[in-house]
């Protein structure tokens, strides 16, 4: 009697309870099926939504990327990897990859540094509650504007005759006004700057929450050990914030790589392709050239890049 019991316990996949009153074959056939399907019944509304809104569109785009002249032609033909070859050998696409890399890495790094700096300023014990509340509102303002408003504001400010040039020439930082968004040498840096400005408050708020969650005991213990403020920052603050920092950085890389509206409304990918991103390239392929197949191929490449980043994010979350 002992041996079969041990065997059952030793196998976690087997049923722990056996109803002796029913024939074993029948009990195995009906009850587990009903039981295992019940959760799917509960989940079905969500599953259907995911299927309709995510799985089907993604599968369709992937299938489009292997066909020729989809949507425009009623009977597109299978072309294998031809669209991928077209996209990957298109110099504009390669420029878009380079620009996107520069745009997302600099944006994310600046978001982290600025977000952490402002979060620490707002977390300080030196300032009073009212002062901190006022600064909190000021610092968060850029995040409250929709991207269309951000684009309009900065287009006006960075106009060759705009406020920025006026100030810079008035204080003699510049000899003459710079065409920030219209010059190929400055446009990418200008849109990156605008993106940094509009995105840092989200980092600031998240990191502030993280900072407020760090136990004061740790700082007190560090103080007892004679740690300097820099040492406290490096050995208490940063290690405690690391999970938040990494998650935020990965999420920001994904979000920024999909930034379309800001680029479209400020430079449209120009001048001379200086701010062409993967998102603007894909849009132009689809809605201007009506090349939905190459647009799909480009979109699938962006999806793969995003999935790699998402994988890092999920792994980070699992480690936590």
């Amino acid at each position: 009697m002992d041996q079969p019991e041990l065997k059952t316990r030793g196998n976690p996949m087997s049923s722990p309870v056996t109803d002796a009153s029913q024939p074993p074959a029948r009990s195995r056939g009906r009850r587990p099926t009903a039981k295992s399907l019940t959760p799917f019944g509960y989940l079905s509304p969500t599953l259907i939504l995911i299927l309709v809104l995510m799985v089907i569109p993604i599968v369709m785009v992937i299938s489009y990327s292997f066909k020729d002249n989809v949507i425009v032609e009623r009977n597109p033909v299978f072309t294998g990897l031809a669209n991928y070859a077209t996209v990957l050998t298109d110099p504009t696409f390669l420029t878009a990859i380079k620009n996107t890399l520069i745009f997302i890495t600099i944006s994310t790094a600046a978001h982290l540094v600025l977000g952490l700096t402002f979060a620490m300023l707002l977390n300080t014990t030196v300032l009073g509650g009212v002062t901190k509340a006022v600064f909190r509102i000021i610092y968060i303002l850029p995040w409250l504007f929709t991207i269309a408003v951000v684009a309009v504001i900065w287009r006006l400010m960075l106009d060759p005759y705009g406020v920025v040039n006026y100030i810079l020439t008035s204080v003699h930082a510049l000899q003459e006004g710079v065409d920030w968004l219209g010059s190929p040498s400055t446009a990418l840096w200008a849109v990156t700057f605008i993106n940094i400005w509009s995105g840092y408050p989200f980092f600031m708020i998240s990191l502030l929450a993280g900072l407020q969650g760090i136990s004061t005991d740790l700082y007190e213990a560090a103080a007892v050990d004679g740690a300097s403020p820099v040492q406290k920052f490096l050995h208490v603050t940063i290690p405690q914030l690391r999970p938040v920092l990494i998650s935020m950085a990965v999420l920001d890389l994904i979000w920024t790589s999909q930034q379309f509206a800001l680029i479209w409304m400020t430079t449209g990918g120009g001048p001379l392709g200086a701010t062409e991103m993967l998102s603007t390239y894909t849009y132009k392929q689809a809605f201007s050239s009506y090349e939905f197949s190459t647009a799909s191929a480009s979109a699938v490449i962006v999806l793969l890049i995003s999935m790699i980043l998402a994988l890092f994010y999920v792994r980070q979350q699992r480690v936590r």
Binding site: A34, L37, G41, W264, P271, F287
Partner: protein
């Protein structure tokens, strides 16, 4: 337990199936099956960007009038700004779910027609026994009409009279030399004033059509061969682009042109930062509203020195078409006929500050701005020209030309190279 579990599962699956079926039925219902109700009333969907650009409520009034005349037809107006309408129609054309009647820009027609999304209006007109001789123009592809221009908007030269007077420009420039002279003099006024604005933003590259090709068309030139093939290497085209480059080299073009959008151009003219622009007549109201003190005139676009022929005048249209997928093409054409009728077309063009698509209609000039009357005179003396209308992938054509022009203006390639490369790009697209 087993039985109750099975029952629960059955119920859940039943409920889920019902939800799916209801959803499917609802989706189906929003399509064609509901467009005719039990009383035989047909509901037409009409997507356009016109209503937001007309005085408030005036478009609805016209539609109400149509519904009164046709009690068995209801019109559901789907109104959105131009750019949103375009995006909706691009996806609608791709999925063959275009609304029954669609507002069209001539630049979209070729692509939509080739996708089989637009109905052949020639046969619909024949079935309705409609005589098209009243129509000013029709946009055709292989002999079949796919779009009828309802209202036309022209792009004349707007001149800020205060700035030109201050700069000592005696008369409005009529040829390229005079224009260069006027642009130089107004730029020399300083204080952030430039002679001309050239919006070359590549996101919406219409500047190529309105601000570049307009110079070619004004001098009777063409960007196409007689059989409709690209002809960008012609001496006329070369001279046009050389001229624009000379304006750029003379520093008379407002800075920021490589990413300047059309609205920036209008804004700079309104603010008195630019002395002359080629702009849509539709913007007169906006300019006057934003700067009531601005004194400006409307003039023909300057031609090459010594040119005496008829001048081409760029135009854009509010066009109309019928979806191939529509189940009510005859009713849809009744709406088209109504909008193209002498009375309605006069009314609509007056409201829109445009010129009628029906050649027997006359805009009511007594109620409109005096500038509008001047523009109507210019319109009657010119040849309304827009060679991008009906061309395939016209936005792409403009963009490739735009990018090459930008390289020429920034001295990264010669004008000849820019035109040769544009010619190659256009030939591969058409």
């Amino acid at each position: 337990m087993a039985q109750s579990g099975a029952k629960l599962l059955k119920r859940l699956l039943g409920a889920a199936t019902a939800v799916v079926l209801l959803g499917t039925a609802a989706c189906g219902g929003s399509g064609s099956s509901e467009s005719t109700d039990s009383s035989g009333t047909v509901t037409l969907e009409f997507a356009q960007w016109w209503a937001p650009e007309l005085p408030e409520g005036s478009f609805d009034q016209l539609i109400a009038e149509f519904e009164q005349q046709n009690p068995n037809i209801k019109v559901k107006a789907l109104s959105a700004p131009y750019a949103s309408t375009k995006q909706q129609l691009v996806s609608g054309a791709a999925s063959r779910t275009l609304p029954d009647v669609v507002g069209l820009d001539g630049a979209w027609v070729n692509d939509f027609a080739k996708q089989g999304a637009l109905a052949d209006m020639t046969s619909i007109m024949a079935e309705a026994k409609y005589d098209p001789k009243e129509l000013v123009s029709q946009v055709q592809l292989e002999g079949k009409t796919y779009m009828i221009p309802v209202v036309n908007f022209v792009y004349p030269l707007f001149v800020n009279e205060d700035l030109t007077a201050k700069a000592g420009v005696k008369k409005v420039p009529t040829n390229r030399t005079e224009f260069m002279d006027a642009a130089k003099k107004t730029t020399a006024l300083g204080g952030n004033v430039s002679g001309w604005a050239l919006p070359l933003d590549t996101a919406v590259p219409v500047g190529v059509q309105n601000d570049v090709m307009s110079w070619l068309w004004a001098s009777g030139g063409s960007m196409l061969t007689p059989d409709g093939k690209p002809n960008l290497t012609s001496p006329e085209m070369q001279s046009t682009v050389e001229y624009i480059k000379s304006l750029n080299d003379a520093g008379v073009i407002a800075p920021g042109s490589l990413t300047m959008k059309e609205q920036d151009k209008v804004e700079k003219f309104t603010n008195g930062q630019v002395a002359m622009v080629i702009d849509s007549l539709a913007h007169v109201t906006l300019i006057k509203k934003n700067n009531p003190k601005l004194k400006f005139s409307i003039n023909p676009i300057p031609a090459t020195d010594g040119y005496t022929g008829k001048r081409g005048l760029p135009y854009a249209s509010w066009g109309i078409g019928i979806a191939e997928s529509s189940e009510h093409k005859a009713e849809a054409f009744k709406l088209v006929q109504f909008l193209m009728s002498q009375k309605t077309n006069s009314q609509l063009s007056t409201l829109a500050n445009g010129f009628p698509g029906n050649n027997t209609s006359e805009p009511d000039l007594s109620k409109s701005d005096p500038l509008f009357k001047t523009a109507f005179d210019i319109y009657k003396q010119s040849v309304p020209t827009n060679e991008f209308v009906g061309m395939a992938k016209s936005e792409d054509l403009m963009r490739s030309f735009d990018e090459n022009l930008q390289l020429a203006l920034t001295d990264k390639q010669s004008v000849t190279d820019a035109l040769n490369k544009s010619q190659q790009a256009w030939s591969s697209l058409n």
